[in-house]
Amino acid sequence: MSTETNARIQAFLRKRFQNYEFADDQDIFATGVVNSLFAMQLVMFVEKEFGIEVGDEDLTLDNFRTVDAMAQLVQRKAAA
């Protein structure tokens, strides 16, 4: 697990939600702070930040539910 990837995702969340800290394995949708609209911003962020393309098969909330899940998606895509 790349902690650098996690750190970059965490930095994005911190900029967007100044009052909140998310743990790497915390379900960010369950907190009520973000909704599925924000999930689309997360998709665009990881695509731009990590130079990957999130295809239809990966467009599920589960891939964006936690910082760890997003980092795993990034690794999987980068390795492909």
Binding site: L37, Q41, V43, K48
Partner: protein
Amino acid sequence: MAARRVGVVGAGVMGSGIAQALAQAGHDVVLLDKSAAVLDGVKDKIRNGLRLQKLAGKLASGDSANVAEILERITTTAEYEPLGSVDFVIETITEKWPAKEETFRRLDCVCPDDCIFASNTSAISITRIGSATKRPSKVLGIHFMNPVPLRPTVEVIRGFHTSDDTVRVAVELLGGMGRECVIVNDMPGFVSNRVLMLTINEAVFLVQDRVAEIADIDRVFRECLGHTMGPLATADLIGLDTILYSLEVLQESYADDKFRPCPLLKKMVHAGLLGCKSNQGFYNYNEV
């Protein structure tokens, strides 16, 4: 229902979402915007709208294979002439009466006589819009909610002269797009925005008066009142310029100062802080 050829005027936040929903329902869409820059970005916006639906689990995986096909049904244009062959128009331009009046006068000249005109206006009277045309019985309001791809119900507004047949055709078109309708009578702001704009405006006064932090104001609405989104996040989504113009329309229409826009709202609009579409409103969207 048979596929129609539908015109959408204005390719902003609402127009692109409506064009997408129409194309997904199998209709051919002519999407008109006077700005070439807006038209350039519109297919990407629609592609992202389809991805949002997928992400929210509202698009079966089979459907997503058709993204190219859906986009192909949408023709973009900066001219009115291609609207000469449509049988239904949905207008989504800026919330300013002179612009609306000019648009409907031009549509009235270009479109076939039996073409129905729907306005997605936030607050302007449908009866007044009808008066800008020679076909007021064929003019109605269809108020889509934002984000269009995720909202299942629309407010349909019957103007003074709107015919039953016009309402029937609109409800049928919307039904084919998977939308339920709530039919209401015409007064500026209808049901939704007459209340929502006041709520958002008062929430901006809360920010101005430093009663609470922005995130905490929204949190009260979400966590105490059970709303999906707070009023300030909603304002960012709609666009602060649209909120300001709608309040100005309501203030003028009712001659009632309860709709006076909060000075902080005006200041933010003048500073170019328009919400999601400018990457900065009450919240910051800069990183994407």
